[in-house]
Structures are given as structure tokens and as C-alpha cells.
């Protein structure tokens, strides 16, 4: 060992001792990492929000709709059956009256109302009493603009827009994940009831296509699509697992509480695919 090597060796030894000392001191001052708080439930989405949830932004608000009371936009109530008028029309030369006028004689309440806004179309306005103005489900019709009422302090500036859609009525990735979770939550109890047929059945993933009505009920029989994970051991269970996939959904239908505005937008819940598998 020559001098240079001895020097290098000595430096290395000193360095190692210093390193060990530093680590040992560091250990004395080691702090216990804080215990994690209660687990927070998270969900995994395969996509992140790379697309805008409002890809067609509008500077103007949507066009107003008329109704006696303010409320969220809804479907129009079905037209009531025409009721024959008790008295014939005095002016036969007049054109055929609109059905709305034929249905019922004018009510006193309607006459007492202030003069109608000339910009509204008389034929489409419901002139029945407010308590009669109900939709098919027996609920009052509601609109986004107060009609026929002059209320001080409430803005009545009409919007020049003709767009009917809400600016945000597009399925964002986050909304899709939320809806998928909401559906999965409702289907889960029924999925848990399905009985495991045999070894290897847990490897089968069955896709079923589902069409729903707006009320969350099935619009048609679920259609069994592809099955993945089939092998020689579990092929015998393929039909049964397909049954169980359909049962999982059908038993818990109709679904409730899904957002109406995301029903028939692209990737909406009117049509979706459910992948079902049994736990391993």
C-alpha cells in the first residue's frame, strides 16, 4: 500500500464514520410521522377532465319560458281532452277557435288578471286557474319567467336568446364518474345477492347494454354484450353469469335520483353499459 492509497483509505474511513454518525444523530431526532386521519373515500375515474363541461358556452342566458310561478324547466303537460263548449260560438264567420279556447269557458279569475303582455301568444297561454295549471304528474307547471304578473322589483327583461338548453348540460368527465357511481351504488345491493355458480366464475366480466326511461325505469330488456375472461374452466358458467348480470340490474330498477339534465346528452344515462363481475 503506497502513500496515496493509504491516504485515500483514510479519507474513506473518516467519511464513512462521519456518515454513520450523521445517520445515527438523524435517527435520534427522527420524528414520528403523523398518523393518517380517517380514510377518505375516493373514487377513481379513468379519464380526467380534459374536456370542458360546457363546450358550447353562451354569453346569453337561455330563453325564458312562461308560467305563473318560477321553477325549473319541465316537460309540458299533456293536452287535456277537449271538452265541448256549452254554448255555440256567436260568430260563425270566425276561424275555428284554438283548442285552448274551446276547452273551458273563461274563468272569473282569468278576467281579473291584468292585461296580458301583448308579446305573448294567446293561443299557447294556459288561461286556467293556477291550481288547475298542472302537468301530467299533478304538479304545478313552473317556468323561468313570471307571466301575466306585473311585480315591481322583479326584472322582466326578456333574453334575446332562443337556446333552450342549459349552458352546462353536457356530461363532463366528473359528472360521468358521479353518475356511474350513483348507478353502481343503487345496483350494488342486488349484485351482492347474486349467488356464485362455481370456480372461475369470478374471472368472467359481462357487459350488458341498458336503455332507461327518464324516470329511471328500464326502457327495454337489457342486452347481454360481450363476455371477457372466459376459459376452459369457467366457460360452463358463462350463461349463468350473464343471467346474474341482468338480474343485478333488474332487481334494483328503477334507478332514482339521476340528474334529468344529463339524461340524453352525449354519454348520458339514457343508454349505458354495465360491466358486471363476481368478487374473487
Amino acid at each position: 500500500m503506497d502513500r496515496a492509497e493509504a491516504t485515500g483509505f483514510g479519507v474513506a474511513v473518516v467519511g464513512h464514520v462521519a456518515l454513520l454518525a450523521a445517520i445515527a444523530l438523524g435517527l435520534f431526532h427522527a420524528t414520528v410521522p403523523p398518523q393518517p386521519q380517517d380514510a377518505i373515500e375516493v373514487s377513481f375515474a379513468e379519464d380526467v377532465a380534459l374536456t370542458s363541461s360546457s363546450p358550447t358556452p353562451m354569453a346569453q342566458p337561455p330563453a325564458p319560458s312562461d308560467a305563473p310561478e318560477l321553477g325549473a324547466p319541465e316537460e309540458a303537460a299533456p293536452a287535456p281532452a277537449p271538452v265541448p263548449t256549452p254554448t255555440p260560438q256567436p260568430t260563425p264567420r270566425e276561424a275555428a277557435p284554438a283548442p285552448a279556447r274551446e276547452r273551458a269557458p273563461p274563468q272569473p279569475q282569468a278576467r281579473e288578471q291584468p292585461k296580458a303582455n301583448p308579446r305573448t301568444t294567446r293561443e299557447t297561454r294556459d288561461r286556467r286557474r293556477p291550481e288547475e295549471a298542472r302537468n301530467g304528474r299533478g304538479e304545478r307547471n313552473r317556468g323561468t319567467r313570471l307571466a301575466d304578473l306585473n311585480l315591481d322589483g322583479l326584472g322582466r327583461d326578456p333574453s334575446p336568446s332562443r337556446a333552450q338548453a342549459s349552458p352546462g348540460a353536457t356530461m363532463s368527465t366528473q359528472a360521468a364518474a358521479n353518475i356511474a357511481q350513483a348507478i353502481a351504488r343503487q345496483v350494488q345491493p342486488c349484485a351482492d345477492r347474486q349467488v356464485y355458480p362455481g370456480p372461475g366464475a369470478e374471472r368472467i366480466v359481462t357487459s350488458i347494454s341498458l336503455r332507461l326511461n327518464r324516470d329511471g325505469s328500464l326502457a327495454g330488456r337489457p342486452r347481454v354484450g360481450t363476455q371477457r375472461g372466459l376459459d376452459d374452466e369457467n366457460r360452463r358458467y358463462a350463461e349463468r353469469v350473464a343471467d346474474l348480470a341482468v338480474r343485478s340490474f333488474v332487481e334494483c330498477a328503477p334507478l332514482r335520483g339521476l340528474p334529468q339534465e344529463l339524461y340524453d346528452v352525449p354519454r348520458g344515462w339514457s343508454n349505458f353499459t354495465m360491466n358486471y363481475r363476481m368478487p374473487g
Partner: protein, 455 residues
């Protein structure tokens, strides 16, 4: 020093290359994610995982008759109740179902057989529903109708009708249960089968052992031999025309053949040597058996019609308990050539013999599953029934101690065996779930052999 630097530089370069290579491998795209293949990209996708390992609740109400009529097996109204009882019992025996009814359920009218009262059955907790009818035909036969429904989906899953002679009404019920079982489990059927076994009675030193045959559930029991000679190891021919077994007739163990139609018995081979442990080939044309000759016991094969036995093994020791694979290409057998009883697999011509079991305590009576995926055996240390793959992997035990002599149900899902080495009872176990059931026998029983599904 320069050389050292060069060497270090090379090492660093190689290390970096290794790292880069590893990173590149890590970036190699893995298999396509299973969840997205073949699905519409523009559609909402919901993933649901759920299920339970439990018995399936299934409603089995009494079966009505369109018109009560007397038959050779009784009134059709009574038959409808009995058929429903058998269907429910079969399903319960499988260990995979919890039948609801027949007692306690609302009576079913004949028109309701095809239009079930689904709202009512959904209140019973049943996931599926079996309905049916029994109808007397003009020609003396009866028709048993069998319908399976999904209560939640309100759909019919399958339906079958069986036209049988009144004496075969139990078979019609078993076949109805088979239809339900197969549709709801995906497995093959096994209720319409028979068992041949050794019926035992009397004290241990003077035990009378008779060959007996019965339905899988113990019904239609009858004896095939009178007990004059002790019999052992009966086996069903896959074509169900003959049964082979070993008898001590004349104090000399030898393999016999019993013809089921005629009831006649004859020796399998005309040999002065001791022959035993017979079993059929899957095509019913051959029987493999053991023969002790010149102090060595080997496996032989002989046509069922008779002829000269063909020797398959020739190693020193006792080679016995041969059982064909379902495709007939391989044979599993037990041998003590290594010093203890172990399992071996060979080609059907005796070539390529290889050991597949290596546990202590010994292995005996191997039987290849009709599916081909498993071999059942008796673990002689403690006498437990187990299964393993044909390669010897995945060994697991199905029973506790005191069990031996496994035989497979034709669907390869259940194994019957003898429990209680002294008293002798027949039991079977569901291979997947491990649930066991006892098969009732009028006397003690041992050495069961399960028949194939009846034609």
C-alpha cells in the same frame, strides 16, 4: 489509474444502459385494459362487482294437474305433490340451493303454471321459481311439465316436458331437477343417475357383502347378489350395460362382469391368478385391472368381450387402482414402487410413467374426473378424500378423516365416498362448496360407484 477510470466508465455506461433498458421495458404497453375492449367509447360505463357464496333460494310449489286422473303410480294430483317434493329434495341435496316449499306456498292453478304470480314469489325471498304440472295421457303414460322462472326479471329461463310411464315418475322428477340445476349452475346434470355399491350387514368377522343398486337418492333399491360370496369394488360401465366387480367366489379374488339386462355373471378373464381393482375405459370397450403374478402385481388391460390381457406396467411392487382419463389417453394409478403408496400417471399404453403425488402417509384409489380437470383420491394417512390436478398440483382435501373410495358424479362436480370405516355410510360432497350429504341406504354401505347420466 487510467485503466481504472476506463473500467469505471464502462461499468457506469453498462449500468445506465441497464436502467434505460428497464425503463424502456416498463414503458412497453401492457395488455389492453380488459374493461374497455369492444365498448362504445362515447357511452357511459358502470362497473359493478358483487355476489355471494351461498345457497340459492328457489321456490318449488306443488305441481297442479289439469284434470285429476288415476294412473298406475297413483292419482295425478298426488303425483304433482310428490314430483315437487323430489325436485326440492334434489336441489337441496346438491348443497347449492335452499328450496322454499313445496309446503307453505300458495297453491298453483294449472293456468298459472305458465303465468306465475311473480309479485307473490318476490315476497318469499326466492330468486327463482320452479313450476310444473302432471298430466295423464290417454295412452297410459304421464307428462311431467317443468318450468323455471327468474322471479326478479319475471322471465322464463327454460322449460322441459317428460313423457314417461307412470312407474318412471321419479325419473321424470329427477330430470326436471337436473334441468333446473344445469340451467342455474352451468354444471352438467347428475340427479337422474344410479349408484352401485356394496351393501354390508352383520358382525365384522362374518360380514355379509352384497352388490346393490339404487337411484342416486337411495330410492328403487335392489340387491344384485345374494351375499353368498363377498363382493368388492363394483364399477359401472359408461354404457350402463354391465357392472364389473371383484368377488371372493371360491376363496380366490377375481374380477367378474354382471350384465344388467340379463342378470348373468361371468369372469372377466380366465386366469388362475388373483385379479382385482377393475375399471372401465371411457368407451366401455376395455377394462383395466390388476393381476398378481409371480410375486408382482401389475396393471393389465383386456377387452370387455374377453381375450388376452395386455400388460401395461412391469416395475417391482404393487401397481393397482388404475383409472382412465376421460379422453382415454392416460391412466392414473397407485404404486408402492417408491416405498410408499403414491399416485402415478402414464399413457394408456403404459409409456411415460411419472409420479404426481409426493405427500407423506400415502395415496390410494385415484379416480379421474369426468371433466378431466381433477383426480380424486384417498389420502391413506387419516383416510381423507382429496383432489389434485392431473399434474399433481393444487392438492386439497374435501373431507375429514374416516373417508375412502371416491367416485365422481357424471358432471364432475360431486364426489361420493364411504364414511365410517367400520359402520359404512355413503356420503357425497360438492367439490366446489364442500357441502356434504348422506345417501340413505337400508343397510350399511361401502364402495359406491356413480353411474353416468341415464339415457
Amino acid at each position: 489509474m487510467r485503466n481504472i477510470n476506463v473500467r469505471i466508465a464502462r461499468i457506469v455506461t453498462a449500468f445506465c444502459s441497464l436502467l434505460i433498458g428497464t425503463a424502456a421495458m416498463a414503458q412497453t404497453p401492457a395488455e389492453q385494459p380488459a374493461g374497455q375492449e369492444g365498448q362504445d367509447e362515447g357511452q357511459l360505463v358502470v362497473d359493478v362487482t358483487g355476489g355471494q357464496r351461498a345457497a340459492l333460494p328457489i321456490a318449488v310449489p306443488y305441481m297442479p294437474t289439469p284434470q285429476a286422473a288415476d294412473t298406475a303410480a297413483g292419482n295425478t294430483e298426488a303425483l304433482g305433490r310428490q314430483v315437487a317434493d323430489i325436485v326440492a329434495t334434489d336441489l337441496r341435496n346438491s348443497g347449492l340451493f335452499t328450496p322454499i316449499g313445496p309446503g307453505g306456498l300458495q297453491p298453483v292453478s294449472f293456468p298459472q303454471v305458465t303465468a306465475p304470480n311473480f309479485p307473490y314469489y318476490s315476497t318469499t325471498g326466492a330468486q327463482n321459481l320452479v313450476q310444473g304440472f302432471v298430466q295423464a295421457n290417454g295412452n297410459g303414460s304421464i307428462t311431467v311439465g317443468c318450468y323455471l322462472y327468474d322471479v326478479a326479471a319475471r322471465t322464463e329461463l327454460t322449460r322441459q316436458g317428460y313423457v314417461v310411464q307412470p312407474r318412471d315418475w321419479r325419473r321424470a322428477a329427477h330430470r326436471c331437477a337436473d334441468t333446473i340445476y344445469s340451467r342455474l349452475t352451468g354444471e352438467g346434470a347428475y340427479f337422474d343417475t344410479r349408484i352401485v355399491y356394496v351393501s354390508e350387514t352383520g358382525p365384522a368377522r362374518r360380514r355379509v357383502k352384497r352388490l346393490a343398486i339404487m337411484d342416486y337418492d337411495g330410492a328403487n333399491h335392489r340387491f344384485l347378489t345374494n351375499g353368498q360370496f363377498t363382493v368388492l369394488t363394483p364399477r359401472f360401465a359408461p354404457n350402463q350395460q354391465t357392472i364389473t366387480f371383484m368377488t371372493y367366489e371360491g376363496d380366490r379374488p377375481r374380477v367378474m362382469l354382471y350384465e344388467l339386462d340379463s342378470g348373468q355373471t361371468r369372469p372377466l378373464v380366465q386366469q388362475p391368478h388373483m385379479t382385482f381393482a377393475p375399471r372401465y375405459s371411457p368407451d366401455s370397450r376395455y377394462i383395466i385391472f390388476s393381476m398378481a403374478m409371480n410375486g408382482n402385481t401389475d396393471l393389465y388391460r383386456v377387452p370387455v368381450s374377453g381375450g388376452t390381457p395386455q400388460r401395461l406396467t412391469n416395475t417391482p411392487g404393487i401397481d393397482t387402482g388404475g383409472s382412465y382419463s376421460p379422453d382415454g389417453r392416460q391412466i392414473v394409478f397407485e404404486s408402492d414402487r417408491s416405498g410408499s403408496q403414491q399416485l402415478y400417471v402414464m399413457n394408456a399404453d403404459g409409456s411415460n410413467q411419472r409420479r404426481i403425488s409426493f405427500g407423506g402417509g400415502g395415496y390410494a384409489t385415484p379416480v379421474w374426473s369426468p371433466r378431466g380437470d381433477l383426480i380424486a383420491f384417498t389420502r391413506t394417512g387419516g383416510f381423507r378424500i382429496g383432489v389434485m390436478s392431473p399434474s399433481g398440483s393444487g392438492e386439497r382435501m374435501l373431507t375429514s378423516g374416516g373417508a375412502e373410495g371416491p367416485t365422481w358424479a357424471p358432471n364432475g362436480r360431486a364426489v361420493m365416498f364411504t364414511r365410517g370405516l367400520s359402520s359404512g355410510q355413503l356420503w357425497y360432497v360438492d367439490v366446489a362448496s364442500g357441502t356434504t350429504r348422506r345417501v340413505p341406504t337400508p343397510l350399511g354401505g361401502s364402495d359406491p360407484a356413480w353411474s353416468p347420466l341415464r339415457d
